[in-house]
Symmetry: none
Subunit: 235 residues, 2 copies
DNA sequence: AGCAACTGTCACAAAAGTGAAACAGTTTTG
DNA sequence: CAAAACTGTTTCACTTTTGTGACAGTTGCT
């Protein structure tokens, strides 16, 4: 996401005037803004433009903003996409509900564009490290996302593309157990047609690559569940 | 940070009544709360308690909240620590300034405790995903449902799938007695065809796994009734 | 084209987990 | 106290799940 230096924003807002205002301010901040006023369209656009940030109005045509949010969180591909919700509904319960559904921030209209931008920046500052920026590490493993290079205890580790993506996924969610199905969905580009057991094979390749120098295995097999990246493997 | 399952909050607020209120609500969410009303002290405490989240009032004695925030961001050790700022100053410029200084969220008094919690959770969800993992505890046993891992007194416990489900069921209903029949029905996938006595065997395996280090038995046998997870086995 | 790296599947081996049966031990009852 | 009723333990055959090595088809590069 967010290649060649441009930050991409998807704005989902059906009030044209407001949309223009927001657009203007974000454009000035260097964002490429795509916008729509319809919920269903938002879901398609997200797939298309791969935004770095989504701003969602609650009340829009078609699928509601909160429902869009829920769906984005449910799909592995967008589960960690930064989302800000926007609404005229000022009720506390709405705000809590929005946040609990997975929104990262919740702004009530009317709001100041400056604050919106400041909040967007705060959010990106926080979530970028995981998506865009430099390094991930866990227990002696260091993955440099820019250089596309992995080291363990300082020593370089050679990984194929799939193993790299797999490890990256684990590093982004250490200790968490993923089923083979989940791994396929979040690590493989076209997960549909692929055999579940293929995951095993790649996990094995990853294990071998990570343990080249007789280091202990960091990938834990959770029988009948899946795998996780975990320091104390067996226990 | 945030080891052994407890989430730690450092609250920096000099309004005693407000501090108590916030404390109360976060404690209910499972946080261990440390608090102070003095800026300088905050910096020391952060080093000491290694909180997972800091809530900073802007106007406090000594070093101001915003200055604390700035310093935290400057030091590598705390640069990515989640920070929420709190203030009575409702000015837009203040909010923007707070966010630009590195705060992750900015809440204006008066605020609702529920929203504060919801925002804290949203922030932690993004920055410390492990902390939000759902956990079950009882008498020194801790089951992390996301990592799919069980510990007793901090030490990892190895369980097979059935024992895991069995323990989970007990942890969800501690102290309650279940008949073998009930256990079969709620823990086994296809309970029909299975012998009642099979439960005994698995209970035994669970007991062994949980008592590996000579710890006392937490599963109580209730003669002619069934079993329960219960601290005082005799009773 | 020629080669090397990478992928996805299989088939088979190995490991882990499961359920039942049999017997030993305990507790409750008559 | 002895019989009856239960529960604890051990063992074993069987099933399910994973680990492994080999292989053939792709892809990307030179």
């Amino acid at each position: 996401m967010g290649r060649n230096g441009t930050k991409r924003l998807l704005l989902v807002e059906d009030d044209r005037a407001l949309a223009e205002l927001v657009k203007y301010h974000f454009a000035r901040e260097g964002f490429t803004v795509t916008s729509t006023g319809v919920g269903d369209e938002a879901l398609i656009l997200i797939d298309e433009v791969q935004p770095d940030l989504v701003i969602l109005d609650w009340m829009i045509e078609g699928v509601s903003g909160i429902e869009v949010c829920r769906r984005l969180r449910r799909s592995p591909a967008t589960a960690s996409l930064p989302i800000m919700m926007l609404t005229a509904r000022g009720e506390e319960d709405d705000r809590v509900r929005g946040l609990e559904t997975g929104a990262d921030d919740f702004i009530t209209k009317p709001f100041s564009p400056k604050e919106l931008i400041a909040r967007a920046n705060a959010l990106l500052r926080r979530s970028r490290p995981n998506l865009l920026a430099k390094k991930l590490n866990y227990e002696g493993i260091e993955m440099d996302l820019v250089a596309h290079r992995v080291r363990r205890e300082g020593k370089p580790v050679a990984l194929g593309p799939t193993e790299y993506r797999l490890l990256r996924h684990f590093l982004e969610n250490p200790q968490r157990v993923f089923s083979r199905q989940q791994l396929l969905e979040s690590v493989w580009p076209h997960s549909e047609e692929i055999e579940l057991r293929t995951v095993d094979v790649h996990v094995r390749r990853l294990r071998i690559a990570l343990s080249k120098d007789q280091q202990f295995d960091l990938i834990r097999t959770v029988r009948s569940e899946g795998y996780s990246l975990d320091a104390d493997g067996a226990a």
